[in-house]
Symmetry: C2
Subunit: 227 residues, 2 copies
């Protein structure tokens, strides 16, 4: 088993609507991309490149419009299900690290955003990398937030232990690790909120190249005991 490195990508300039995010990230890479690297990029910078920004005065209306269902209200905040099926605060509408007077919405289709960025990075680098778009979500029963994957391209979302055996030869029948969420959380640790680091490379993770998506991470309503 090899070690994993989490490498911040510093010096990406402020991103605006229509910017070629793949080109900007490629130009800022601290070292060449390698096969099986995962590039993690924050939702915020993807949303800015895609023009998913609205005036701050529309914030609360946008949070409701971006949701398909409001699960809970808590003061000004709603916990809602987004059009993508994610359950999060204010449908992911958020004012941090966007220009004064504006808020950013989640990308319309973050899996598509990830696939596009992956194609751009392949074009610039010639290397097959995976891409994860990350955002900071709260959890039902645990305090604090962690970053999770809201867009995925080029990698299986789960590391599936079902059908494999533990060290005692016993079948592991319930374990399906959401490895893309662990990668997103790991990358958050070098990105932070107060700096302008919007991307990181995760190198050495035991990923399987494939056609995973963040849509797969959404628990269907018929499996969901808590929605």
């Amino acid at each position: 088993v090899n070690e994993i490195r989490i490498i911040p990508i510093e010096g990406v300039p402020e991103v605006g609507t229509g910017d070629d995010l793949g080109k900007l990230l490629f130009a800022a890479l601290p070292e060449p991309l390698q096969d099986k690297d995962v590039l993690v990029v924050t939702q915020k910078v993807v949303s800015k490149a895609e023009g998913r920004v609205v005036p701050d005065r529309d914030r609360q209306r946008a949070a409701v419009e971006e949701s398909t269902r409001v699960l809970r209200r808590f003061g000004d905040m709603i916990i809602s299900e987004t059009r993508h099926g994610f359950v999060c605060a204010n449908s992911g509408v958020d004012a941090s690290n966007v220009a004064e007077g504006t808020v950013a919405l989640l990308p319309l289709d973050p899996d598509l955003s990830a696939r596009r960025l992956r194609a751009q990075l392949r074009h610039h680098s010639g290397v097959e990398v995976a891409v994860i778009v990350s955002d900071t979500f709260g959890r039902a029963w645990r305090r604090g937030q962690t970053d999770v994957a809201i867009g995925v391209a080029g990698v299986e979302s789960f590391l599936d232990y079902r059908g494999t055996s533990d060290v005692f030869g016993r079948e592991l029948n319930a374990t399906q690790i959401a490895v893309v969420d662990e990668i997103a959380g790991a990358a958050e640790m070098v990105m932070g909120k107060a700096e302008s680091i919007c991307a990181a490379i995760v190198r050495g993770a035991r990923i399987t190249f494939g056609t995973g998506s963040a849509a797969q991470l959404v628990r269907p309503h018929n499996e969901d005991l808590f929605r």
Copy 2:
């Protein structure tokens, strides 16, 4: 911002009741511990060292006895709140990577387990490290499991951005990152379930040495919108 390394600790022998876990882990270190390293160890191996193992036939009774409340039932499985306040499947009672015919329970006080292990590692290495005891939990609305911290010693549980500013100088008022959960999830990626790797070093994370605990991660009932 520096990169983060996640280094697996391989070759720890099978652990039994009463074993000196700190000594076993210290002997297996692939390189010397450094200041501000976080040593992550799986709940399973801590439970084995502490004798928190019962016969498999007591599995379902144990899951109920270890819980203070059952939130949902789903076939043979319960989603319950443990004595520690964690919400997880079967109160954390689990058969993977324990001897045939047995199941492991969560440590009685995983924060205490972490503090003890931290003291042992300090004794052996002379270095002040943080310790996280990790376990694999499901999530309410997202498929798949990730590792989270169920025991913490020597590090603040949260990276608190409240009161700091984003790159636009705007106050970040809602963000409190559960960094110990992100560290536990990152470490899972080198530990896996099918191998016998029960510990990892996370080096370079922006942690704050302090008196954090996993108990702090439990959302109190009066803040909890989903329990």
